[in-house]
């Protein structure tokens, strides 16, 4: 059987699995989630992963924010970037979401007796890096930079000409769907005007995500349209094309 590449995992499948995890959390705790989504607790209580901090070795040009210690079921966060995480809680949350997605979608859990989702291709975007304090090898993702603008620029340079926006890594789509479930975004649409940057920034504070992560999510949900080098937020590509026709 030919396995699909991870990046072709359908958006619907990812939306379903993240919604399922949130429902599991709600049913376990009796709490209905609202923004900010309690990702740490979901990861611990539903996925059964723990957190640990260590210094993760980085290669020149890399920014490794976290990794996965599969054998010990731990998300390892890079202590070398703890100041950055402190300044940007949204970045920490998206990193946790990435690692959770890595665990859920593509890690080889034969080591951990856990089945993979159908259609996943383990090993497509992972590498091993050394965690210095605990002296162990962990798996890291190359695509976790999506939630941070600075890291995103590095990522763009490293992967120029590769993934188109709609096929960016499944784990990135996983983290954004977990942090910004479709139904909470739809509810937020009643309170915020998505074509105004000031409103989007207010929403980032409410959801505790960073602006890049939010705008990518809104674009994926088809709620806004952005063009490179253009600060205007359009409701859709059609709206942009329509405006261009007018002038």
């Amino acid at each position: 059987m030919t396995k699909q590449r991870l990046k072709y995992l359908k958006n619907e499948a990812i939306e379903d699995v993240t919604a399922q995890r949130i429902r599991e959390y709600e049913s376990k705790t009796g709490v209905t989630i609202a923004f900010p989504v309690p990702i740490e607790v979901i990861v611990e209580q539903v996925l059964g992963l723990d957190f640990d901090w260590d210094v993760i070795q980085e290669q020149p040009g890399e920014q490794i924010l976290g990794g996965l210690d599969v054998a010990n079921r731990k998300i390892l966060l890079n202590e070398a970037h703890s100041d950055l995480f402190e300044q940007k809680p949204g970045l920490l949350r998206s990193t946790i979401g990435h690692e959770a997605g890595h665990w859920e979608l593509d890690v080889d859990r034969s080591k951990a007796s856990h089945p993979l989702l159908p259609g996943c291709d383990p090993g497509s975007c992972m590498a091993n890096r050394h965690a210095s304090k605990s002296d162990r090898l962990i798996e890291v993702l190359f695509t976790k930079a999506m939630g941070d603008e600075r890291a995103y620029r590095v990522y763009k340079q490293l992967t120029a000409g590769q993934d188109a926006p709609e096929v960016r890594s499944a784990v990135d789509r996983y983290q954004s769907a977990l942090l910004m479930p479709k139904w909470l975004i739809q509810a937020a649409q009643q309170r915020y005007e998505f074509t105004r940057w000031s409103d989007l920034y207010r929403l980032t504070e409410e959801a505790q995500v960073n602006i890049t992560n939010l705008t990518i999510r809104l674009q994926r949900l088809g709620l806004i349209y952005l063009r490179e080098g253009d600060k205007t937020i359009y409701r859709s590509e059609d709206e942009f094309t329509g405006q261009r026709t007018l002038f």
Binding site: V31, E40, F51, D52, W53, L77
Partner: protein, 110 residues
């Protein structure tokens, strides 16, 4: 086998439905510090201070003595008793485990 200190803190925190960040805010430390406590990877010493353990116990509504003991610390009030009645504790220290268990049972049974 008795649980390790960090493992017990993690267990109590999860039972309360709290994330590391939430617990960190309640006890006035960073979430990385909470993670280090749970993973027993503190930079200085094996366990947090007695004061902090008391704060953790309060935040998690846990048994303060249990946590202090797991952290190999003797609660202040017990220390005081030992110093007030050293002869009693000297005798207790000479007893074997079986006798201590029997004594505890007798005390509990009244």
């Amino acid at each position: 086998m008795a649980k390790r200190f960090g493992e017990r803190i993690r267990e109590l925190r999860k039972a309360k439905g709290l994330g590391q960040r939430a617990l960190a805010q309640m006890i006035g430390v960073s979430h990385t510090y909470v993670s280090k406590i749970e993973n027993e990877k503190l930079d200085f010493g094996d366990y947090p201070s007695e004061d902090l353990i008391r704060k953790i116990a309060k935040a998690l509504e846990a048994d303060e003595h249990e946590l202090l003991t797991l952290a190999q610390k003797i609660p202040e009030e017990i220390k005081k008793k030992v110093l007030e009645h050293p002869e009693v504790f000297r005798k207790l220290a000479q007893l074997d485990d079986e006798t201590l268990k029997k004594l505890l049972k007798d005390l509990e049974d009244g």
